[in-house]
C-alpha cells in the first residue's frame, strides 16, 4: 500500500481515494501547489487522478485562473456561490469541501448573510450550473440591474463552469469526501420564474479585441481553424482563456491514452445530452475537420447508439452521457463496465476528465450566450411546396371564401332519388375511398369490401347529409370509420384512439443522415409506389389514417380533423408524428451514403 505524506496539514492518507487505480506522485508535483494554495491541501478529487499527471496539470491551470487569479469577486462570495451550486447539484463531495473552505475563511455557509445584490449572483450561478439551458437574457439583465459588472458576471459564469467540472469529476472518479458534509438544503433560486416570452439568444457579453498574436487564439486557429465565439466573449479575462486552451491542449488534443476522435465524440455526445446546440455545432465541425464524416457527427448528436460505432466506442459514450446527464445513477458499476470492455484505468480517467471539461465548456457557453460560429452549412429556408397541405393558412381558402362543393348538384339529385347521380359520385370518389381503405387495411380484398360498405352506408344516410362539410370529406369520414372498425375487429387489443405507451411526446428521429437531393430519381415509379406502400404499413393505424387523409387525399387540416372526429391540434400532432415515422422508414432508401454518393 502506497502511503503519501504530502497531503499538507491532514496527516497521512492512503492513496486509493476513488474508483480508479492511482500512482504515487511526489510531494513536489508542481500542479498540486495550486490546490494547496487555495484549499490548504490537495483534495481527493485531484489525488484520484494521479494516473494522468497532465490532466491534473490542466485542472491546476483552470483553478489558478478561476480561483486564484480572478479577483473581481471576494473569495468568500465565490465560495458561497460554489457551495450553493454544490447543494443545487446535490454533490455531497463538494458540499463537504465548500463548507470546510468557508470555515477556514472564517465565514459561515449560511445564505442569510448574503446581501440581496450578492444573492442575485449566487442564484444566477446555481441556475446556470444546474439548469444551464434555461438561462436567458432576463437572467443576465437582472444581474446587470443588481449593478454587477460584466467582469463579475463573467466570473460567476466561470465559477458555475468550474463547479460543474468538479462535480462531474467527483462523481465519475468516485472521490472519497475530504470532509463529512453537513446536511445542506438545495438552493431554490429567485430566478426560477422567468418570462415565457424570454429572449434566449446571446451574446450576453461583448467580445473584446485581443492582440493578433494572443497565443491562445493562435493555438485555437491552428488546431480548430477558428477562434470559437465562446472564447472571444471571455476577452475580459485573457488568463482564463489561456487556462481553458491549455486544459483543452492537455486533455483533448492528445492521442496517447484515448484517441482524439474518441474524446471529440464525447464532447459531441455530452453537449447533445445537455441540449447545447451551440456546442454540438462547434464540435461536429471540429470532428469533421478530424476526418469524421459530418453525417456520423450529427448521428452521434442525435443518438450515438444509432451511429454505427464499435461496441467499445458506444459504451464509452454511454458512460460519458450517463455521467453528465444522470450523475445520480452513476456508480462504480459504470466504471467496471468500461473495464469489462477492455478499457484501462487511464482511459477511463481520461473519459471522466473529457466529460467534465465538456460540462465546463457547455456551462460557459450558456452563461456567455455565445452564438454560433458557423454560417449554415447550406442556406436553409423552408421551400413551401405546391401541395395544398403545405400551403400557409393565409393562402388557404377561408371558410367564408370556400368555393361551393363541386359535388353539391349531384348530391342534391341523389338525395332526390336519382341513382345515376349517385353512380357518378361513386365513380368520382371511388379511387380515393379505396386508397384510404387499402392504406389502412393493407389487404386489397378487404379494402374493396370496406369500400362497398362505405358507399352503401353513404347512400343510406344521404338524406341526413346537410352540406355542412364537403361531400368528399363526409365520405372519407365514413370510409375511415369503416376501415378503423375493421382493424378493431381484427385486433381488438390494439388501441387506435389512445396514445398508448408511446405518446405523442418523446418521438425522437433517429435517422439523421442527409437525403439525396432528388430522391425520385433513385427508383422507378412502380418501385417508389411499393416502397411507400410498404413503409406506410409500418405506421400504427391512428397515424397512418391521418397521413392518408392529409398527404394522399390532400384534405385540409380542418377537413381531415372533421373526417376523423378529432380536434385540429390533435390531428396536427398525429400528422407530424406520422410523417416523422414515415420519414424514418423511408430514410434508408434515400439517405446519402456516408461517402456522399447516393443511397
Amino acid at each position: 500500500m502506497i502511503v503519501c505524506d504530502w497531503n499538507f496539514g491532514r496527516g497521512k492518507i492512503q492513496v486509493n481515494v476513488g474508483y480508479l487505480k492511482e500512482a504515487g506522485l511526489g510531494e513536489s508535483f508542481q500542479p498540486f501547489s495550486v490546490f494547496r494554495e487555495y484549499f490548504g491541501f490537495v483534495p481527493n478529487v485531484f489525488l484520484a487522478q494521479t494516473l494522468l499527471p497532465r490532466v491534473i496539470a490542466a485542472e491546476a491551470e483552470l483553478a489558478r485562473a478561476i480561483l486564484l487569479e480572478r479577483r473581481c469577486l471576494p473569495q468568500i462570495l465565490k465560495e458561497r456561490m460554489l457551495l450553493a451550486l454544490a447543494a443545487g447539484r446535490g454533490s455531497t463531495y463538494f458540499i463537504g469541501l465548500g463548507s470546510q473552505v468557508l470555515s477556514l475563511l472564517g465565514a459561515s455557509d449560511s445564505k442569510t448573510d448574503l446581501s440581496s445584490q450578492e444573492t442575485l449572483l449566487v442564484d444566477f450561478t446555481v441556475k446556470l450550473g444546474t439548469r444551464s439551458s434555461s438561462i436567458s437574457r432576463d437572467d443576465v439583465e437582472r444581474i446587470a440591474a443588481g449593478r454587477w459588472t460584466n467582469e463579475s458576471m463573467l466570473e460567476a459564469v466561470l465559477l458555475a463552469g468550474w463547479g460543474n467540472f468538479l462535480c462531474t469529476l467527483s462523481v465519475g472518479l468516485g472521490a472519497e469526501p475530504d470532509f463529512a458534509a453537513a446536511p445542506h438544503v438545495a438552493t431554490t433560486t429567485s430566478l426560477d420564474i422567468v418570462s415565457a416570452e424570454r429572449e434566449n439568444f446571446g451574446p450576453y457579453l461583448s467580445a473584446k479585441e485581443m492582440p493578433s498574436d494572443f497565443a491562445p487564439y493562435a493555438f485555437l486557429r491552428d488546431n480548430f481553424g477558428l477562434v470559437p465565439n465562446v472564447f472571444q466573449l471571455q476577452g475580459l479575462s485573457p488568463a482564463t482563456v489561456a487556462a481553458e486552451v491549455e486544459a483543452m491542449r492537455l486533455i483533448l488534443l492528445t492521442d496517447d491514452v484515448l484517441k482524439r476522435k474518441q474524446k471529440e465524440r464525447i464532447l459531441l455526445a455530452v453537449s447533445a445530452s445537455n441540449q447545447n446546440t451551440y456546442c454540438v455545432a462547434v464540435y461536429a465541425e471540429i470532428l469533421t475537420l478530424s476526418g469524421v464524416a459530418s453525417e456520423e457527427s450529427y448521428q452521434i448528436a442525435a443518438d450515438h447508439r444509432q451511429a454505427g460505432l464499435s461496441e467499445l466506442d458506444r459504451a464509452l459514450l454511454d458512460f460519458a452521457v450517463k455521467l453528465s446527464a444522470r450523475p445520480e445513477e452513476f456508480s462504480r458499476e459504470d466504471v467496471e463496465s468500461l473495464r469489462r470492455h477492455g478499457l484501462s484505468d487511464e482511459q477511463i480517467l481520461e473519459a471522466v476528465a473529457v466529460t467534465a471539461l465538456t460540462q465546463f465548456l457547455n456551462t460557459v457557453q450558456q452563461g456567455t450566450g455565445a452564438v454560433p460560429d458557423f454560417a449554415p452549412r447550406r442556406s436553409f429556408r423552408l421551400k413551401i411546396g405546391n401541395k395544398a397541405n403545405l400551403s400557409s393558412p393565409d393562402s388557404r381558402p377561408k371558410p367564408e371564401e370556400e368555393p361551393p362543393d363541386p359535388d353539391a348538384e349531384l348530391v342534391q339529385k341523389a338525395q332526390a332519388g336519382n341513382l345515376q347521380a349517385f353512380e357518378v359520385l361513386v365513380e368520382h370518389h371511388g379511387k380515393r375511398v379505396y386508397r384510404t381503405l387499402v392504406g389502412l387495411l393493407g389487404s386489397p380484398e378487404e379494402a374493396r369490401d370496406a369500400m362497398q360498405d362505405t358507399f352503401l352506408k353513404a347512400f343510406q344516410h344521404l338524406a341526413g347529409f346537410q352540406g355542412r362539410s364537403k361531400f368528399s370529406t363526409w365520405l372519407l369520414r365514413i370510409a375511415s370509420n369503416a376501415g378503423l372498425q375493421r382493424l378493431r375487429e381484427r385486433r381488438p387489443m390494439e388501441s387506435l384512439d389512445d396514445d398508448g405507451p408511446e405518446g405523442e411526446e418523446g418521438f425522437r428521429p433517429r435517422q439523421v443522415r442527409a437525403w439525396t437531393d432528388d430522391p425520385e430519381q433513385l427508383y422507378s415509379q412502380s418501385e417508389m409506389r411499393s416502397l411507400v406502400e410498404n413503409c406506410l404499413k409500418k405506421l400504427p393505424a391512428k397515424y397512418r389514417v391521418v397521413v392518408l387523409l392529409r398527404d394522399f387525399e390532400q384534405l385540409s387540416a380542418d377537413d381531415a380533423a372533421a373526417a376523423l372526429g378529432l380536434g385540429v391540434p390533435a390531428l396536427k400532432s398525429r400528422l407530424l408524428r406520422g410523417r416523422l415515422m414515415l420519414r424514418e422508414a423511408l430514410a434508408p432508401y434515400f439517405a446519402k451514403s456516408p461517402t456522399g454518393v447516393g443511397a
Partner: protein
C-alpha cells in the same frame, strides 16, 4: 435556447407556416446552425412530396368500374325490396 426537441415539436406548424413570427425567428435561428434539424426538415418535406406523388394504392379504372357497378347493383337491389 431552442433545443432540437423544441424544434421538432413545432415542425408541423413550421411546415404549415402557421407559427408566430417571433417563434419562426427562433426556429430559423436554431435551424441555421443545427444540421440535424436541417436534415429532418428537408427529409420530412421530401417524404411528403414522395408520398403525395407516389401514386400508391391507386385503383385502375378497369378495376374501379366493376366495383362501382357492383355497389350500384346492391343499392338497386336494396331499393327494390
Amino acid at each position: 435556447m431552442i433545443t432540437c426537441a423544441d424544434f421538432i415539436a413545432e415542425l408541423g406548424n413550421y411546415m404549415d407556416e402557421s407559427v408566430a413570427d417571433e417563434v419562426r425567428v427562433q426556429l430559423e435561428n436554431h435551424l441555421a446552425h443545427c444540421q440535424t434539424c436541417q436534415v429532418i426538415v428537408d427529409s420530412t418535406c421530401k417524404t411528403v412530396r414522395i408520398v403525395t406523388d407516389s401514386g400508391s394504392f391507386d385503383l385502375p379504372d378497369a378495376v374501379l368500374k366493376p366495383i362501382a357497378a357492383e355497389i350500384m347493383a346492391k343499392i338497386r337491389s336494396e331499393q327494390g325490396r
